[in-house]
């Protein structure tokens, strides 16, 4: 029995310390994944909580077919993508609501600084994160898992439930698109 299976069994038996152990083991991974996509600390904190609540509620369905970390990555990405979609929908409706007299909330785009990036790279990393936001969802997730989570293409394929070839293709397109966005960004400043 693997360590993760043993932990899951202990949680199922009502062992609170096992659940806390899982949280301590994976909280950085979950939070880092969330913050790299949503680029907002408060949202990432909420998502991390949601992920562990969902994990607690659905761990009965975990069969051990994949690694516990892979399963947690999948939950994190699913919740994060949902949050992002909701935010985009809200932005779209805010425009329509302004016609009906509802006061529009002033949203100012704040430059995101990832807390794990070295100080001398902060400026160029802020441009990179801005460009990442422009990428299609799948490309953004694949690029983030590789660059910020250090996952190899095979692990990314497992997390995203796709093939290795598909991940390779996503990464190539992500890099090409990012380069294009960054060149246009540095041309315009």
């Amino acid at each position: 029995m693997s360590q993760s299976e043993a932990l899951i069994n202990r949680i199922k038996q009502g062992d609170k310390t096992a659940f806390t152990a899982v949280m301590e083991l994976y909280q950085d991974m979950v939070y880092n994944t969330a913050i790299s996509i949503v680029q907002n600390a408060a949202d990432a904190d909420d998502i991390t909580q949601d992920v562990f609540v969902k994990f607690y509620q659905t761990m009965g369905t975990f069969k051990g077919a994949c690694k516990l970390s892979t399963w947690l990555y999948r939950i994190t990405i699913s919740i994060t993508v949902d949050t992002e979609r909701k935010k985009k929908r809200k932005k779209r409706f805010a425009f329509a609501e302004s016609f009906f007299g509802k006061e529009e909330e002033q949203v100012t785009a704040v430059e995101f600084n990832h807390p794990g990036i070295a100080l001398e790279k902060k400026e160029s990393a802020a441009a990179l994160f801005k460009a990442m936001k422009q990428l299609p969802e799948n490309q953004q997730i694949a690029f983030m898992l590789h660059k910020l989570e250090g996952q190899n293409y095979q692990e990314i394929a497992e997390i995203m439930n796709t093939t290795l070839t598909a991940v390779e293709s996503l990464m190539v397109r992500a890099k090409v698109n990012l380069k294009k966005y960054l060149q246009s960004y540095y041309t315009n400043i």
């Binding site: 909580q49 990832h114 794990g116 990393a125 989570e149």
Partner: protein, 112 residues
């Protein structure tokens, strides 16, 4: 260095800026907040009666059950009404056509 190659250099630097980045860490007391949310959800399940009813599976199940009961009741009532109507009308037809009707006239005017 011309402008285009400078832009390319900046773009390349930005592309590599996330290499060797450390993982961001969540604010402290995460486990406390998560446990509190789990307990709150568990308490809501037992204290709030609508929590159970509002679950989609329960709501749809209850709706199907109610519709089935209503349809069954309608069908049963319909067949009962037909049977009752038939049962009630049969003697009436018989009474109308009988020669042995007893009425007050018959009783008063008894033939000698």
């Amino acid at each position: 260095m011309d402008k285009q190659s400078h832009i390319n250099q900046l773009a390349d630097e930005a592309m590599g800026s996330a290499d060797n980045a450390k993982r961001a860490t969540p604010p402290p007391y995460l486990s406390t907040r998560v446990n509190s949310r789990i307990n709150k959800a568990a308490n809501a399940y037992f204290t709030n009666p609508f929590y159970f009813i509002s679950k989609p599976a329960v709501a749809i199940g209850a709706l199907i059950f109610l519709i089935t009961i209503n349809i069954t009741a309608l069908l049963l009532n319909k067949s009962y009404t037909i049977v009752a109507h038939t049962a009630q009308s049969a003697p009436d037809i018989a009474d109308e056509n009988t020669d042995n009707l007893t009425s007050i006239y018959d009783i008063v005017n008894i033939e000698p």
